[in-house]
Amino acid sequence: MAVEKKGMEVDGVGSVGDKLPCKKLVMNGAELVVKALEDEGVEVIFGFPGGAVLPLYDALYYSEKIKHILVRHEQCAAHAADGYARSSGKVGVCVATSGPGATNLVTGIANAYMDSIPMVAITGQVVVSAIGRDSFQEADITGITLPITKHNFLLNDVEQIVPTIKKAFHIASTGRPGPVLIDLPRDITTMEAEYRPDMELDTPGYKIPKMQGRDALEEIAEVLKQSEKPVIYAGGGILRSKAQGELLSLAEKHDIPVTTTLMGKSCFPENHGLSLGMLGMHGTVYANYAVSECDLLLGIGVRFADRVTGNISTFAQNARVVHMDIDPAEIGKNVPVDYEVVGDIREILSSLLRLAPEKKHCEWNETIDGWKDKYPLHYDNSTDIIKPQYVIEQICEVTEGRAYVATEVGQHQMWAAQYYKSLMPGSFSTSGGLGTMGFGFPASIGMQMANPDATVFNIAGDGSIQMNIQELATIAQYDLPVNIAILNNQYLGMVRQWQEIFHGRRYSQTDMSHQPDFVKLAEAYGVEALKVEKKEEVRPAIEKAVGSKKPFLMDFHVEREENVFPMVPPGGSIKKMIRG
């Protein structure tokens, strides 16, 4: 740590009886930032240096506790921090310089905000006296990120560095998590101040929602007792509050089938008899039927997003609706609910488990099993052409559902959600709310950093991977054994699918057949790669990649015009799916 080199100790001035140590540490602002990050337990930072953060990088140079991963584009610093947070439960940290560095973070911050991911983003800023003068590399990043952060700070006092970083981590990681940005003018990082880690936090306006609705819980227990056809609709809130154990107990003790949202995927083992897979626009037929037919819908850590509900007026119209969430503003925002409980999901579920007696729902589960038999996820695998779903099934088999998977956005994302049966909580990262192409590859870097020994897959499309392909340099530099599986159909497949179905097959600007040779490209970056064009080569390629324990890219040339089914047309009722 920089203290040894630059810090100086001076005699304390504390009065008699003062609990402060009699020696005090004086450091410059940049060193205070690094020290405060170390105090928060930060082990990895994803970032990219620049003029305004030079002092910060100078201080990082001496840190033995924090490893810095140099990405090749600041957007990826944010996505990598995001993937790190999702797969570790810790706060992800990213750093960028002022101006363009900061604005390049914006998509990544918005992505984390939409998916409620705990993140602290630190941006450099021009010197305080130059703010507002359109200085070189100046951007009003606190203004720009105001609607996409849980909170942000513009620091203008070196004394406030340590308490502000403490606050930022506290705010990012508690309640409904989210990204917090700290904008750090360069001159603040070169001024000196005493290191005082014991300063009290002063955030009177920040309220972590406490559990409200214990009465409602008793009513819910009663309704649960009466219900013949209950369904659990579980979301990302389960993973954020680490309530997967409680969820499993609730489902098993009460014999309730569980469908998850895209964000909730991996919170419930997908090989479990009570698992319905995903619901909504590309959900399973049986999940959507179950929600449509149920008499009690338990929405847990969810937000009734439009991709889930379809037409709101027909969504779960036979059911009494229970909504449990940490964010009171989510209750009743999109769908009227009959019972609401606000608070930490884990706490809520533990209380409910104590209240509700066990019960079996044999008839209801038989009905659902009937739907599972009649309308399974399916695709035509009879041709020699590689089907994208087949590739994902093979990845799932080889990794036994225990890989950490990050996806981009599009058809491959939906196929991954449908066919990769995740068994480990937090092992599936995807851009659920914002739908960010280019998220998955950098996110997989973050997941690998959080889980160094795990098998990590980035399931990508040929369109999405090109949005952040430069990170091949990053995985090569740090020798991160990320496995990239490109489902290459030479189209922006999801847009093409919509053009096929809703726009008379007019494939406007979705043909991506002019593309690089991904194998040569990967090799140019020093990453081993394989092109796979035959079905029988799929599994050996995956086994080779996983076995290599090295960065590896697989370019699977798949059926060009395969569609994602089932599909609920936008705004339609989720009962009425195109089954394909």
């Binding site: 105001l146 849980k150 513009l154 306006g205 503003a329 925002k333």
Partner: protein, 172 residues
């Protein structure tokens, strides 16, 4: 229906932006917004008049409450409270009509605060009904300019809201 929200916020730069941006982004309207510091210089109070049904007001309140700089949001619409707004009206007034204007000003217990060659500036305070009434009564003379502060409000009786506890207990 119009609701009156009394919002305690941290008195620091950017807070007004955060509140205003929230309304803009979520598509809520603001009828008026008045802001000034409280008896504690670290804290400001905003009085915001918001049109909308129950659902809208509930969302506005909950979303405002999530802002870190917002300490307390109270919908005081149904409480007993005193409301005031201040208006300045510049009205066309050649000497022939000045007497008539002065009479109206007296009736409203308003004041003339400036006299120009062909115009007067009138200052009035009162609840919204009174302010609207005096503005309307001046129309026939030709209103040149109007500036209104927006409504401020204070709940009657002893100190109100748990946030007041915070006001007194806060470390300074």
């Amino acid at each position: 229906m119009k609701h009156t929200l009394s919002v305690l916020v941290e008195n620091r730069p950017g807070v007004l932006t955060r509140v205003a941006a929230l309304f803009a982004r979520r598509g809520y309207n603001i009828d008026s917004l008045a802001v000034g510091r409280t008896e504690n210089p670290d804290i400001s109070r905003m009085t915001i008049v918001v049109p909308g049904d129950h659902h809208v007001i509930e969302q506005v309140t909950k979303q405002l409450d999530k802002l870190i700089d917002v300490i307390k949001v109270s919908d005081i619409t149904k409480d007993e409270y005193v409301e005031r707004e201040l208006i300045l009206i510049k009205v066309g007034a050649d000497p022939s009509v000045r007497g008539e204007i002065m009479q109206i000003v007296d009736i409203f217990r308003a004041r003339v605060v400036d006299i120009g060659k062909d115009s007067l500036i009138i200052e009035a305070t009162g609840d919204l009904g009174k302010i609207d009434a005096i503005e309307n009564s001046m129309r026939s003379f030709g209103i040149i300019e109007v500036v209104r502060t927006g409504k401020i409000a204070m709940v009657r009786g002893p100190k109100h809201e748990d946030a007041e506890n915070y006001l007194s207990h806060r470390r300074l």
